[in-house]
């Protein structure tokens, strides 16, 4: 059974990494980065390439670019997803990666994993129409649909464990200090 389960996750390497990084704060301290450049209107282009980890500079295989804009009903040109949709993308991909990793570790073969995410928001907040309404999501709903060689409780446990170990889930469910600095050119 163990030999036949293959979700494409190298769990051994992940467990080895944890072993190597336990009690090694220098190597375990990662910094993730994104650069963003205003294009026009509410359209911006962000890029991701370098990051820091294992005590030195690291790099993706290539640079990835992300256009963010707003739909036409917000009087914008719709050159990309909205920033809040990127947040949903981040949560979805983080939880899905977690499901695959946990499944591999628990020797459960996945056949398909699909997730639908909905972030509900009262836009009176961002429009400044009502001071009592928060800007962000008032809630996020994630619905997973999973086909795997396991019973319903075991599949639910995969998703539960994935949430427990998810970075984006933690970022969204717990407060994070944000420091913003500005320089004039």
């Amino acid at each position: 059974m163990a030999d036949t389960v293959d979700n494409g996750v190298n769990v051994e390497a992940l467990l080895d990494a944890r072993e190597a990084l336990t009690g090694n704060p220098g190597a375990a301290a990662f910094t993730w980065r994104a650069n963003c450049k205003w294009v026009n209107g509410v359209h911006s282009e962000s890029s991701v390439e370098g990051f820091r980890g294992l005590g030195e500079e690291q790099s993706h295989k290539r640079e990835f670019k992300f256009n963010a804009d707003h739909p036409e009903l917000f009087a914008a040109e719709d050159n990309g997803a909205t920033p809040v949709e990127y947040v949903l993308v981040g949560l979805a991909s983080c939880l899905t990666a977690g499901v695959a990793s946990v499944a591999q570790n628990r020797e459960i073969q996945l056949n398909s994993v699909e997730a639908v995410l909905e972030g509900s928001m009262d836009v009176q907040g961002i429009l400044g129409a009502d001071e009592d309404v928060r800007n962000g999501f008032d809630g996020i709903k994630v619905s997973f649909n999973i086909d795997a060689d396991a019973d319903a409780d075991d599949i639910e446990a995969l998703v539960a464990q994935s949430q427990k170990r998810s970075a984006v889930y933690d970022i969204l469910s717990n407060p994070t200090n944000i420091t913003v600095e500005t320089t004039k050119q």
């Binding site: 008032d138 809630g139 639910e156 539960a160 469910s173 717990n174 407060p175």
Partner: protein, 402 residues
């Protein structure tokens, strides 16, 4: 341990900072009882002899039990002797106490793992207008001001305290982190009857992977209480009384307490684990043809609001006090031997501490799952004293039991 040492004719002294059973008699809240039934309260040659094997001892009964045992085995206890320092000196240990100094070839650390309250560092950021208390100081609800109480922590202590504080007329909000949900009874028996039967409590530390051991040693105490009614105490029981649930406390910002939005998942994780345990027990019953009543789990998933509060404003007066039921940790401030890891935990292999001649008892999952239970001490003490005897040169290693 003293009994095992005596039976091996190893000269020893038991140093006790107060009276025998001191922590049980003085450092616990009034209503606390053991979480394990009386049949599990036994020590070498000293079984439970009362008429209620399924009942749960009060802390004072436990204290008395230890005092009686000390007398029965003639333990060389030196009471009112507080150890202030243990350090290595040549190949021995020097022990400084409030009643003089000792030198010993071996030292067994049996001072417990519940000496200090483990309170999160941001507790000190609470406004001074809020009364705060931890599980070491708490005795009963009357110590708290009238009005709302935030209880932080949802293991055995948090649930028990939330229950009695809410019943005292002080509305409780309970901050729930990771927890272990267990039914008090299952299929006609106490849950510990089954954990014992299926061999869970006998699982040895060296049968587990490093991962399982680390996780097992860090587990919070299960959501249980020892009442005469053998009642199950869980989050659903509390919310039915009107207790409000919020997520794990994550920060204090000025007069605002912030809670995680991950409450539902933690409850779901605990529900799934409890269901898995029930299934394991069911399978064991079938395999062993055990005569047991049909499943009576009455399983109801933990009810959590769709939108539990993410923050609490301390300015509006709804919360007057905070009780930190966030666990305990051992006090090793007097241990001047380099045997603590970066997290302040004792480095040991099944109670054999990394400094030769130094041993431990009563640590979480030290040699077995039941190492922290009173009856778990029996086998651990036999194993550890066997190693100690070899170290003292009394026996050859071949005589050693594994």
């Amino acid at each position: 341990m003293s009994q095992c040492l005596s039976s091996r004719n190893i000269d020893h002294v038991v140093l006790e900072r107060g009276e025998v059973g001191n922590s049980w008699n003085n450092d616990r809240w009034d209503s606390l009882t053991l979480l394990t039934p009386n049949w599990a309260t036994q020590l070498p040659g000293y079984d439970y002899k009362g008429d209620d094997p399924d009942g749960y001892m009060t802390t004072h009964e436990v204290g008395r039990y230890f005092q009686d045992y000390a007398r029965v085995i003639n333990a060389p206890v030196q009471t009112e002797t507080n150890v202030t320092s243990v350090c290595s000196q040549n190949d021995q240990y020097r022990i400084e106490t409030s009643a003089g100094e000792y030198t010993a070839n071996t030292v067994v650390l049996a001072s417990g793992i519940c000496n200090l309250a483990a309170v999160p560092p941001f507790a000190e950021e609470l406004p001074a207008s809020i009364v705060q208390m931890n599980t070491r100081d708490y005795r009963n609800p009357e110590q708290l001001p009238k009005g709302g109480v935030l209880v932080v922590g949802a293991s055995a202590s948090g649930l028990q305290l939330a229950d009695e504080i809410h019943k005292s007329g002080r509305p409780v909000t309970l901050s729930v982190g990771e927890h272990v949900r267990l039914p008090r009874t299952y299929r006609g028996h106490d849950i510990y009857y089954w954990l014992d039967k299926i061999g869970r409590l006998d699982v040895r530390y060296d049968e587990l992977t490093d991962d399982e051991l680390r996780r097992g040693r860090g587990l919070p105490s299960p959501q249980l209480a020892g009442t005469q009614q053998h009642a199950t105490l869980n989050l659903n029981e509390l919310t039915a009384q009107g207790v409000k649930l919020v997520g794990r406390i994550s920060a204090i910002r000025g007069h605002e307490l912030l809670f995680s939005g991950g409450l539902k998942n933690l409850c779901n994780l605990a529900d799934l684990k409890m269901k898995r345990l029930a299934k394991t027990i069911d399978e064991w019953i079938i395999e062993n043809n055990e005569d047991a009543i049909v499943s009576d789990l009455n399983y109801v998933p933990t009810r959590v609001d769709n939108d539990p509060a993410l923050s609490l404003d301390l300015k509006n007066g709804d919360i007057r006090s905070v009780v930190w039921a966030t666990g305990f940790r051992p006090d090793y401030s007097w241990l001047n031997v380099d045997v603590l890891d970066r997290k302040g935990k004792l480095t040991h292999d099944g109670g054999i501490v990394t400094s030769p001649g130094l041993y431990a008892m009563g640590l979480s999952l030290m040699r077995r799952q039941k190492s922290t239970f009173i009856y778990g001490a029996t086998e651990d003490a036999m194993d550890v004293s066997a190693h100690l005897a070899v170290y003292l040169g009394q026996t050859t290693p071949t005589e050693m039991e594994r």
